[in-house]
Each structure stands twice: as C-alpha cells, then as structure tokens.
Subunit: 218 residues, 2 copies
C-alpha cells in the first residue's frame, strides 16, 4: 500500500497527537482545532498533519477519535513490529542499542554485530553482540530489512555490501561517507555534527536579530 | 554579525564543497557549474548554497577560489573553535564525547558531567567526566555556551535549568521531553527514532511506487 510521504517534522508530531488523543480525549469525536488548542500547536499544522494520515475531517464533526488513533498508529507503524540490526558494537552502536526511543515508532533492535570478538556479549541479554559470520543467517531467519552502520568510515562500504547480501534494503549510516548501493536500497545518512551546527547557527542569528531590535538592552 | 540562516541540508553540503575546493580546484577562480559538475550535485542547488555564504558569483568568472574557501570556513565556524559540554555520562553521552565528526564544524566537547560519581573519569584524558558541582565554574571559566543533555527524561529539566544558570544559551536535548526555557535560550530537540522512522517510510513508499510501475517484475 502506498502512503503519502510524511515529512520528518510531521512524523515527529504524530506521537504527540497519539499521546494526547489517548490520554486527554474522552469524547467519541474530536476536531483538529481542539487538538491544536490542547497541544499549543498551530491549527493549520495540525489540520495538514491529520489530513496526511487520515484524510480530511468531516465538517462540524472532525474525526472519530478511535479511527484517528488507528490511522496514526498505522502511519507510525506501531501495529507492526519492525526488526532492525546494528553493525559496529562501538560506543555509538551500544548507545543506539540501549536507546529506548525506537519502540515509539515500532522498531526493535534485535542484535548488534561486530567483527571484534572481544566485544561479543556474554550474559547480558539486552546487549546481544554477535559475530559478523552470523549476520546473514540471522537477518534471513528474523526477516530483518533495516540495518544501522556504526563502524568506522574505512569499513562502512564493505559492511554495507554485506548487509545487502543479507537481504537488508534500508540502511541508516552513521559513518561519514557516501555508500554505493543499488537502486533497490534506501540509505539515510546521519550526521550528528550537522544538528549541533544548525543549533549554533540558529542561536547566533537569533542573538544577532535581538541586538538589531530597538528594544535591545545588552 | 547577522548571517542568513542556512538550512540543515545546505549546511551538510558546505564541508563537501570545502573539501572539493581544497583538494581538486587549482585555478584562481571557480564557477558554481564547475563545482556542481565535479561533485555530481545539481547546479541550481550549488548556486543557491554558494549565494548564501558568499553572495552571487561574478558573471563569466564565478568566485575567487581563496575567497570562497574563506567564506565557507567562516560559515562553518571552522575559524572559531566552539567549546561544548555534555551532561549525562551514559552510553549516549559517552558516544557523543567520542564522536569525531564535531570538529568538522568547529565544535569541541571539553568535558562530560554526571551526578553519579562512579562515572567520573580517572586517567583517560579523552574521556573527561566531572562532577555536577563543577558545571557552573567550568562553563564560566571556559566560556561554554553550548550544552548537550543526555540524561533520562526525569532529570532533563533540572539539568537544563542548571545549564542556563551556568551561562549556557544553546541546548541540544536528547531526552524525550520538551524543555521550558527563557526566550534567550535556543533548544534543539533530537529524536533519533525519527530518522529511522523517516528512512523506513521513504523505503516503503519507494517500494510501493516501484511495484506500480509498468516495468516492475517481482
């Protein structure tokens, strides 16, 4: 089934709507303006977001609360549990394996793989690190199509190739390099430094604007 | 000085231009179309990006290579070293402290702070973890205005308040909660799960579109 592509910003608001609908709405129907008011988010934004996942609301009624919850959960993939694996049991790999936020969108990190046998896990079941040889059989057995790369730049392409041979079609790459992949594979490049650079630039501009304002007092 | 706000996507391309100009351009002038062709990026995109950091190029000439390098470095903040601190020496905090990518944009993580004394560092100088009591004097002494929050949700607001009292005005928040801050403070909320959810949705749509195409063979 083809869904309209939801922007990252809108996607980020869906769990907020879901939480609000489940915790604060007791009536059988709810309108975009009620949600907007309840959450302090602009009404136009809420209307657009809900339209993406559930079509337009009915005039004077809005949405049936239960239906809207179902649509948001479906868009978020909460109804289906999506298995993922990580290759690279360094600090970032381990931090991602321990990160609790993925479940919100239906993702479950099943295991982490590493070629360094000293990193392989012993007893802690929440921190499963397996040898690279097991990557392909593991992915085939558990139907894993989503892989995260947290190895150094020099190893990233060969890990990527190996993931693709293991049936992985969605790659989230933390290594600072562009990966060569066939058309059937989607790669998302992560650059954490970009987030902080953007934060710094926004703050600097805000400060500069404030200083230009006639009310500015240093 | 007020700079135009550069989008995250454009910001991500600046280090690519910089690397290209420094490694592959030997002529004293260079045009947007040469850069676009050399990097396989759309010419309109390159033209817009360069216009943001260095104004329009001269007709028939383009940019003076050295001047363009200076402008990009300035926009990236490479000329100034921006100190940052992290509060929360858990897995994510340690992973960020070890992350090498920040230097690309001029950021340097000076130290990590934690209230748990068992996490305080002993000998390893690359992994400096200090007690929370030292946060304010440290930030004042080193002129730190950028802080990263990697503590659990329940502790995030009090850490944020303490950062602000320490002179921090730019906060990158990994805790899954909205922070209450005064107008003078800029917060960037990080949600790593969003990146992976967006990747999954893009891949799913791409697959659905491919299946609708007349050439599709399963």
């Amino acid at each position: 089934m083809y869904h309209r592509l939801i922007s990252k910003a809108a996607l980020g608001r869906l769990p907020i709507y879901l939480n609000y609908l489940k915790s604060s709405v007791t009536s059988p129907t709810v309108s975009a303006s009620v949600i907007a008011h309840g959450l302090g988010i602009g009404e136009v934004t809420v209307r657009k977001d809900l339209n993406l996942v559930s079509g337009e609301g009915r005039p004077r009624i809005g949405y049936f609360t239960g239906d809207l919850i179902d649509c948001i959960e479906q868009a978020l993939g909460l109804c289906s549990s999506i298995p993922a694996i990580i290759v690279g049991a360094g600090k970032m790999g381990c931090a991602l394996q321990a990160y609790g936020g993925f479940a919100q969108f239906g993702f479950h990190v099943l295991a982490c793989f590493d070629s360094n046998v000293s990193k392989l896990s012993s007893e802690d079941p929440s921190h499963l690190v397996l040898p690279m040889e097991e990557l392909e059989p593991f992915c085939r057995k558990h139907g894993v199509h989503l892989g995260v790369i947290t190895v150094p730049e020099t190893a990233a392409q060969s890990v990527c190739d190996r993931m693709i041979r293991s049936g992985i079609t969605e790659i989230w790459n933390f290594a600072p390099c562009r990966l060569r992949v066939p058309d059937t594979v989607t790669v998302q490049q992560e650059n954490l430094a970009l987030s902080v650079a953007h934060l710094h630039m926004s703050a600097r501009n805000r400060q500069a604007k404030a200083e230009q304002s006639p009310e500015y007092q240093p």
